[in-house]
């Protein structure tokens, strides 16, 4: 099980957002750090097939990013995403399950199960427009896990969650990393520090650091050193 990113580039007019990135990701959690505008979200959108690359390729277990088999194994939580306000939480998950190709029985079972997992079991029948920001984020995480993805792309998954929820989801993501390839982008260096076995640091569209991380080292200090003392804001 591996994700192969080969000389992937994406240019927006004169700006190169992702510049010849090559990676090979295997099961486990890989943290992606970098300041705003470094190209993290663009890289994730390319990996999810939402953006077409200017050059290069992405493949998971031999399936190209444009193939249905690729999307069948993919779970994606975008950084900024919306809902259908008049759907209930359960409706939203059932709709997403249909989009992901789950049959009706499995869809209902997985949806109810995941609503419980993310602490929204008692809110299943309530409309999403009544949910708080944190609850919506949890619903977003639930939809990403519906199809038991082998490739999980999480863009700021813990944004908007309270510290207790953040720890809970950090553990959930760590457990998912045992059987899946998880690429995790976050503002919160400590999240990566605790669960990522490998850390990528992006700067100006390029990977400037790619390596395993020892949980006993201070990632934040290392990260800041990469940017000459710049504060991590992306």
């Amino acid at each position: 099980m591996e994700l192969i990113i080969d000389r992937l580039s994406r240019q927006f007019q004169s700006k190169i957002a992702v510049d010849r990135v090559s990676l090979r990701l295997t099961p486990g959690v890989t943290g992606l750090l970098g300041p705003n505008g470094a190209g993290k979200t663009t890289l994730m959108r390319l990996v999810c097939g939402i953006l077409k690359p200017t050059a290069g390729s992405v493949a998971f277990d031999g399936a190209d990013v444009s193939a249905e088999e690729y999307r069948a194994q993919l779970g994606y939580l975008p950084q900024d995403f919306g809902y259908y306000p008049d759907f209930t939480g359960l409706d939203f998950l059932l709709y997403m399950a249909a989009l992901k190709g789950l049959d009706k029985t499995t869809a209902r079972r997985k949806s109810l199960e995941l609503l419980d997992t993310v602490g929204l079991g008692d809110m299943a029948k309530k409309k999403v427009k009544t949910y708080s920001g944190g609850m919506r984020q949890r619903l977003g995480i639930a939809q990403a896990l519906l199809n038991e993805p082998k490739l999980l792309i999480l863009d700021e998954p813990t944004a908007g969650l309270d510290p207790k929820e953040r720890v809970r989801f950090r553990d959930l993501i760590a457990s998912l990393g045992r059987d899946s390839v998880v690429l995790l982008s976050t503002h919160i260096v400590s999240d990566v520090e605790h669960i990522a076995g490998r850390v990528l640091i992006m700067k100006a569209g390029q990977i400037v650091h790619d390596g395993a991380w020892n949980a006993h080292e201070d990632l934040e200090k290392f990260y800041l050193a990469q940017f000459g003392g710049e504060e991590d804001d992306g």
């Binding site: 249905e68 999307r71 995403f81 759907f87 709709y95 989009l99």
Partner: protein, 427 residues
């Protein structure tokens, strides 16, 4: 196709949760229902005798109901020489009088006025007024065919039907019909009953439906624009596009579900509006006799056997098919423009264009005919006016060719929309 039924159900739910869709449906259905109602709303002044005795205001609805009772007793009569002469005698012969007057500068002017002799007498009772109206309709029908100069005591049914044949021939030449098409119409005309047997209830619900269906079709187009212009762009506005696009069924299955949702909603809207219009027409005006021919009520020169009821049902069926093209057009535009507002602007512009340019010059026969078969243009000049046929193996009238063309257009627009959907947002 994977999970198509579930996706379709949720797409329908998404669309029907929009208040604007319900508001547009409600308003346009009321407008459609009101279209025929406007013909019976109001009152008419009916003159009594010369002293003013019997003057009265009568509601248009009451007049319609009295007309249904056929006070002239025309039901079942043939339009033969006897009835033509009876009509001329009742209505009076057209005479031309010259009136002269002098203006303030002392200059003398004269102008000619053509009017029916004896028309000053006027009806003195409501039944007389309605009887006069029945004969008047018949008089005008004959007059339009034979010309004012022939509306005299020598006019026979043979003259009338010969003039009708000549009118058809002129009409076919005017529209540039081929010899084959003329022969087709001649064969149809041979099936026409001569003399025409009249029925006693003119201008009823079926006629109203046939004439009003075109306006209802424009209401359906408007509904499709309002309801469907946001069907795709709302995913972008709500930032749900990324979730959809990276899902396994986010391409073709979702596209099919969305497209079918659009077609369903537009068709359902068309059914509601057509039913509202037809229901009001039939309730307020009443249905004509099943055998009432379009030649009696709508176009005496129409060259094929057709009852007003069959025409009304055909026109409604044809326009229900048009609702699919309207939906497909709006959805294809929304996928091209990628914005709800810009889609509305383009579609409103197209609708205005179709309404204003209801016909192209006959000097470009193919272009003109193709234009005349476009959904929002078809029937603009009246459903019976255009005798041009489409030659595909055999000959097809506009009523047969238009739905086939629209089915083709719907499929072509579906293909265009699919190609655009597949590109979103990969560019």
């Amino acid at each position: 196709m994977g999970n198509f039924g579930t996706l379709y159900k949720f797409e329908l739910k998404k669309l029907m949760h929009r208040k604007m869709v319900w508001a547009a449906l409600a308003i346009l259905t009321v407008v459609s229902a009101f279209l025929p109602a406007s013909t019976v709303i109001g009152k008419m002044y009916v003159s009594g005798d010369a002293t003013g005795q019997g003057d009265q205001w009568v509601s248009l609805y009451d007049i319609v109901q009295r007309r249904r009772q056929d006070p002239a007793g025309l039901d079942g009569r043939e339009l033969d020489t006897e009835l033509i002469q009876e009509t001329i005698a009742q209505q009076g012969i057209l005479v031309e009088t010259t009136t002269t007057y002098t203006d303030s500068g002392g200059n003398e002017h004269s102008f000619a006025v053509t009017q029916r002799d004896g028309s000053d007498a006027g009806p003195w009772t409501l039944d007389g007024y309605i009887t006069d109206g029945q004969y008047g309709d018949l008089y005008n029908t004959v007059w339009r065919i034979v010309g004012a100069e022939n509306m005299g005591p020598d006019l026979t049914a043979e003259n009338y039907y010969a003039a009708l044949d000549a009118r058809r021939e002129r009409n076919y030449a005017l529209w540039g019909l081929s010899d084959g098409a003329k022969a087709w119409w001649d064969a149809q005309a041979a099936e026409l009953e001569t003399p025409l047997t009249l029925t006693g209830y003119p201008d009823g619900g079926w006629t109203e439906i046939a004439q009003t269906a075109y306006i209802v079709d424009l209401c359906v187009f408007l509904f499709a624009i309002i309801a469907l212009s946001g069907l795709w762009p709302m995913e972008r506005q709500r930032r749900t596009e990324a979730l959809i696009q990276c899902a396994r069924n986010g391409k073709t299955p979702l596209y099919a579900a969305k497209f079918l949702t659009g077609l369903t909603v537009s068709f359902a809207g068309a059914v509601c509006m057509t039913a509202a219009m037809a229901g009001t027409s039939l309730v307020l005006l009443g249905p004509e006799d099943a055998a009432t021919a379009v030649q009696q009520l709508m176009d005496p020169a129409y060259g094929a056997p057709m009852t007003v009821r069959k025409l009304a049902l055909t026109v409604c069926g044809v326009y229900l098919a048009a609702s699919l093209v309207h939906a497909a057009f709006v959805m294809a535009v929304s996928l091209c423009t990628k914005g709800g507002t810009s889609t509305m602007a383009v579609c409103f512009g197209a609708m205005m264009l179709f309404v204003w340019v209801s016909a192209l010059p006959l000097s470009h026969p193919w272009l003109s005919q193709a234009w005349s078969l476009l959904p929002a243009v078809f029937g603009a000049g009246g459903p019976l006016t255009d005798p041009r046929l489409v030659h595909i193996g055999g000959y097809l009238t506009g009523f047969q060719a238009a739905p086939l063309l629209w089915l083709g257009m719907t499929l072509a627009l579906a293909g265009l929309a699919w190609a655009m959907h597949r590109r979103i947002p990969n560019k």
